[in-house]
């Protein structure tokens, strides 16, 4: 009797620890980031992050303004999301509602395959194929722009959006569809007025998850956005994202220097941004579930 109780408790504890590992990891990562970044607070002070320019290696006057990096990340993420939503949602609707079983069997593995392409390969494809296309289409002097990065990132977000949205659409009770058709609505009306709204919470969650992937993606953007650290909201201009900055500069930065600490602040901002994104996603999900 006693042995059994101990064993049960042991199993339970083990499971709790396993389930809590991710909380623990996030917490520890955050603590670690703060520990490496905190000497920056004393000198040169947090205000230095508000400067207008990012010039960590300048021999005139170093400057650690995060503004160009934040606008860079926001611009690329917003553009990628705008491109991915129509493809992702329409793709999911088609696969869940319209495609026959054979079509589905062909389409789904290929969509999942896109998600499995290593981002560095996608980046290389972007550099050699997408950048010249963008350059030609918009008659630009160079194809290394925010929109080029956004196109590649949209390609990465679309499989996430399709897979999760399709699940959401399929889990809409069949009675909704039957009722809509019985009331005389046609197929298109049923899909857009009944099924999609009913699955909206799942669709929004899928978009948010797609955005999470986009904002954190590094390798593809570092190769195709040109990485010029200027503050701009023009899609056809070169931008430097937060992830690219960390990846490109951390390797060579003197350990413990101001530049090193500034890069950890970039990391903290990035972590907070994804945290916020997830928080908003969860709120939205909850609100729609209640409605």
């Amino acid at each position: 009797m006693f042995v059994r109780e101990v064993r049960e408790r042991l199993v339970r504890y083990t499971l709790v620890v396993c389930a809590s590992t991710s909380i623990l990891i996030v917490l520890l990562i955050f603590l670690f980031l703060l520990r490496e970044a905190q000497p920056f607070l004393r000198s040169p002070g947090l205000g230095a992050l508000l400067a207008a320019e990012w010039k960590p290696k300048s021999m005139q006057q170093v400057s650690f303004g995060l503004l160009p990096l934040i606008t860079g990340s926001l611009l690329v993420t917003a553009l990628a999301t705008a491109i991915a939503i129509p493809f992702g949602v329409c793709g999911a609707v088609y696969i869940a509602e319209i495609a026959g079983p054979r079509e589905r069997e062909i389409l789904k593995p290929f969509i999942e395959l896109v998600a499995a392409i290593p981002s560095v390969v996608l980046g290389f494809f972007g550099l050699v194929v997408v950048a010249p296309l963008v350059k030609g289409t918009f008659a630009l002097p160079s194809g290394l722009t925010a929109i080029t990065g956004a196109i590649l990132l949209a390609l990465m977000a679309v499989p996430t959006i399709i897979t999760i949205s399709e699940d959401a659409i399929r889990s809409v009770p069949k009675a909704y569809k039957d009722a809509s058709l019985a009331l005389g609505a046609n197929r298109v009306q049923t899909i857009w007025k009944v099924i999609v709204p009913a699955a909206l919470s799942g669709i929004i969650a899928s978009i948010m998850l797609g955005m999470g992937r986009v904002i954190g993606e590094t390798m593809a953007v570092i190769m195709v956005t040109g990485n010029a650290p200027k503050t701009t909201l023009s899609p056809i201009s070169s931008v430097r994202t937060m992830t690219a900055t960390i990846a490109a500069e951390l390797g060579e930065v003197p350990f413990g220097s101001e530049h090193y600490q500034a890069l950890f602040w970039v990391g903290i901002v990035l972590l907070l941004a994804t945290f916020l994104l997830n928080l908003v996603a969860m709120r939205v999900l909850k609100a729609y579930r209640r409605a």
């Binding site: 709790v16 021999m59 002097p141």
Partner: protein, 295 residues
């Protein structure tokens, strides 16, 4: 079961790991002991520019010295010097001189850094073959990269915008260019920072109005895709093409030494390795990988 009791091990684990994580930083061990290690393992870390040269030297050395192992890693000149100071590498490959700050750090640790010039590299200015501009002075390059010139008609070309391409700020080439061409002025914030030499070659061959800089070896390899521009030291002097002869004689103005740095006078296996790099065979590899010999 009581809920707070269930969560207790979790809290314990968090606090234990937090304490561990925040504890004093473990310093890395003292400089690598090489005398007691009879298998003679040499580690070389540093400049990405020198990576394929150093790898070629390491291969040749291991072939001629049975039982010797030489491991080579990149990461950048700064990373290499930091590792040398921490004692995690025996030789650092550096594409720039050791700076004062690093000398000071070394002195604090009771080490003296000993740089040896083993090869030279010329930084080559490349443009698209369609670009009619046929030469540039160092002063003009500076104005292009600091953003003072923005269109090619300011340099005798057509009225097209200049697409300025640079290496990432972690590259030794970036710092060398900043010091010796930009004269320590800031790069324009519109200059694109590309992560690799291959990306610069690709973009220059693809955009007719782009300009970039790469090592001589890479530029010669890509000679069909890009045009190498001769460089004038100042407005009066003649334009010089980067070649082995002009770099060795010092006529070509944007060239730099490539160094192997050791902590203290090289001795034993480390000395044997550096000697092999400076030997006629070693210098042959320098020429073969596209750099310029020093002997």
């Amino acid at each position: 079961m009581n809920r707070s009791l269930t969560l207790f091990p979790l809290y314990a684990l968090i606090s234990a790991l937090t304490v561990l994580g925040c504890g004093p930083k473990q310093q890395s061990a003292a400089p690598t002991p090489s005398s007691e290690d009879r298998s003679s393992a040499i580690t070389i870390k540093g400049s990405d520019t020198m990576l394929h040269l150093v790898t070629a030297w390491a291969d040749a050395y291991m072939k001629s010295h049975a039982g010797a192992t030489v491991s080579v890693t990149g990461g950048g000149s700064g990373t290499g010097i930091a590792s040398l100071l921490n004692g995690t590498t025996s030789i650092c490959a550096s594409s720039r001189d050791v700076n004062e700050e690093e000398q000071k750090l070394a002195a604090q640790k009771g080490l003296t850094l000993h740089p040896i010039v083993v090869a030279r590299d010329a930084i080559t200015i490349v443009v698209n073959p369609a670009n009619p501009v046929s030469e540039l002075s160092v002063e003009q390059l500076k104005k292009i990269y600091t953003g003072a010139y923005t269109t090619w008609d300011q340099l005798g070309g057509p009225a097209e915008p200049i697409v300025v391409l640079s290496r990432e700020s972690s590259s030794g080439t970036y710092m060398f260019f900043l010091e010796h061409v930009l004269n320590k002025e800031d790069y324009s914030s519109s200059a694109m920072l590309l992560p690799a030499t291959s990306a610069i070659i690709q973009s220059v061959s693809d955009s007719p109005w782009a300009i970039g800089y790469v090592g001589l070896g890479y530029a010669e390899e890509a000679a069909q895709k890009v045009k190498i521009l001769p460089v004038k030291k100042d407005a009066q002097s003649p334009a010089v093409m980067p070649t082995e002869a002009t770099v060795a004689s010092g006529e070509y103005s944007i060239a730099r030494p490539l160094l192997l740095v050791t902590a203290g006078e090289p001795a034993g296996d480390i000395k044997a390795f550096i000697d092999s790099c400076l030997s006629p065979e070693g210098q042959k590899l320098v020429a073969a990988t596209g750099y310029v010999t020093v002997k």
